[in-house]
């Protein structure tokens, strides 16, 4: 089953990602990000990273996507804009793309891939929790302070000046 469902999610990810890239309508592009995010979450599950998968959905769908949708929906000019020219500076773009492709392909092709047995599924949250509070406690705290700062900043910005 894993194969079929994997390819299903693969299709979903690629298809929605290509809509994001090629759609002339910004709203469609934003909404199809939903498919991409869910597809990526599914990829994480295939990688035995269930916690990361669910976090992906919470943060990217529940947070970032909604933020994007808000930004685009509530800006009158953007929703009405139709991107008339699909691409410009093609030469420069192609160069960059090829450069990146080569940079990716060199390690991929240089590596000797082996087909191992699929790992048995095991839960990861306990390890993540333990690691967060032992080895990575400093990073964790720094991240929380950063988020707290962001929270306070957002509240200050949103406050009415009456």
């Amino acid at each position: 089953m894993a194969d079929l469902i994997f390819w299903l999610f693969w299709g979903l990810t690629v298809a929605s990602a290509s809509i994001v890239a090629f759609s002339k309508n910004l709203i469609y592009a934003v909404f199809s990000l939903l498919g991409t995010f869910i597809g990526v979450a599914a990829m994480y599950i295939f990688l035995n990273a269930d916690f990361v998968a669910v976090t992906q959905i919470v943060i990217y769908v529940g947070g970032i996507l909604v933020l994007l949708i808000f930004g685009i929906m509530l800006t009158n000019r953007i929703t009405q804009t139709v991107i008339s020219e699909s691409s410009f500076q093609k030469m420069f773009g192609l160069t960059v793309v090829f450069a990146v492709l080569i940079m990716v392909l060199i390690p991929v092709l240089g590596h000797t891939w082996t087909n191992g047995e699929p790992m048995a599924f095991q839960e990861t949250i306990h390890q993540i929790g333990t690691l967060l509070f032992t080895d990575y406690i400093l990073l964790f705290e720094v991240a929380s302070i950063l988020l707290l700062g962001a929270l306070i900043g957002a509240a200050t910005l949103a406050r009415k000046e009456r």
Binding site: L4, I27, L34, V54, I57, I69, F70, M73, L74, I125
Partner: protein, 415 residues
Amino acid sequence: MIESMANWFLSLTWFPQMELASVKLLSVLLVGAGLFAFIAVNAIVLVYVERKVSAFMQVRLGPMRVGPYGTLQTVADALKLLLKEDIIPTLADSILFRVGPFIILISAIVAFAAIPFSPTVTAADMSIGLYYIVSISSIVVVGIVMSGWASNNKWSLYGAMRSAAQIVSYEIPVGLTLLAVVAMAGSLNMNEIIIAQGGSSNLFHWIPLPLPNWYMFNNPFLFIAFFMYIIGATAEINRTPFDLPESESELVAGFMTEYSGIRWALFFLSEYANFTLVAFLTAVVFMGGWQSPFETIFAAKTSLLVLLALALAWTGYVKTKANRLSIYPLAIIGLSTIAAWLFPGFAIWITEPGLFWIAMKVLSLIFLLMWFRWTFPRLRVDQLMYVSWKVLMPIALFNLIGVATWMWLTGEIQF
């Protein structure tokens, strides 16, 4: 069980010698279909119940025509909605308009996968069940915003905006209250959370009381958390007093203004699915899920006697205060007490965990939310945000610290 069903189903088809993978795939599909059927039937029943509850609270009769006591009314309504013309406004974005309701419905159905219906029946008993449900229910926002925007109607857009803001901001206090429970149980797995709530029925660990060891009775912080979760959950599923996205006196019908027929029915379906989901989640997290409130047969018998005494006192109180005879609670409790004392089978049955108990808990929670809806006025947008950020959030944080302190005091965690 489901896999054997899938095997049997495949043996009927043209290719009986399918590999294991397709059996699993088919069982997944079967589970999905089963959940969908459950949600559909559940919505039909709940709509009827809600109508009757609202009618009784408003001194009305409610549906009475179709079927005995109007029981088939919602079936008739569903049929009517199926037969209605499917209208898509000319200026609406027809693709997103079509997709929107399905995203909401699918996220509602998928979330049910982690719900434990009984000790043995859980569609997907995953280790991160609770987190999974919380995350999946955040997809609803996208569907709502999608359909609200696609309707090309200012009221829909307002509804969608309000809904998104509301759900996103209420996710935080809800998450924090759930976090307190997770800290208490030490697990995100739904069944493990339920199992952690079994055992000794000592209120606050020191005072023995005839109460089950559910998390809502476990310690004072979780008792507060229970009510806060109910408030937050009411807001997350857009019900009164937090039904701003579809507030009919302001926004006509909010994000579903332009929908009609079967598409509108999908909204309705997912609304009630989310409603039930929240009730299940509360029952699992705070009320011991499928566990019976009575631990042993003896406890069941004595508790029923205590309840019977309480019911008698209540009946007498009502009789003296209002000169009415409230017979129903007395009859129900009395009959079950007699049955528990006379028939040992019954006593054993009510002490066993199972679907019955979680269903009872879910139903009473659903009644509570309906009761809210038919009593309260609606909040304003800024007041809604006030409740979320300035009341629920601080108390939830305080609760979280309180629970941690409690655990440290009772020796459940050591530093």
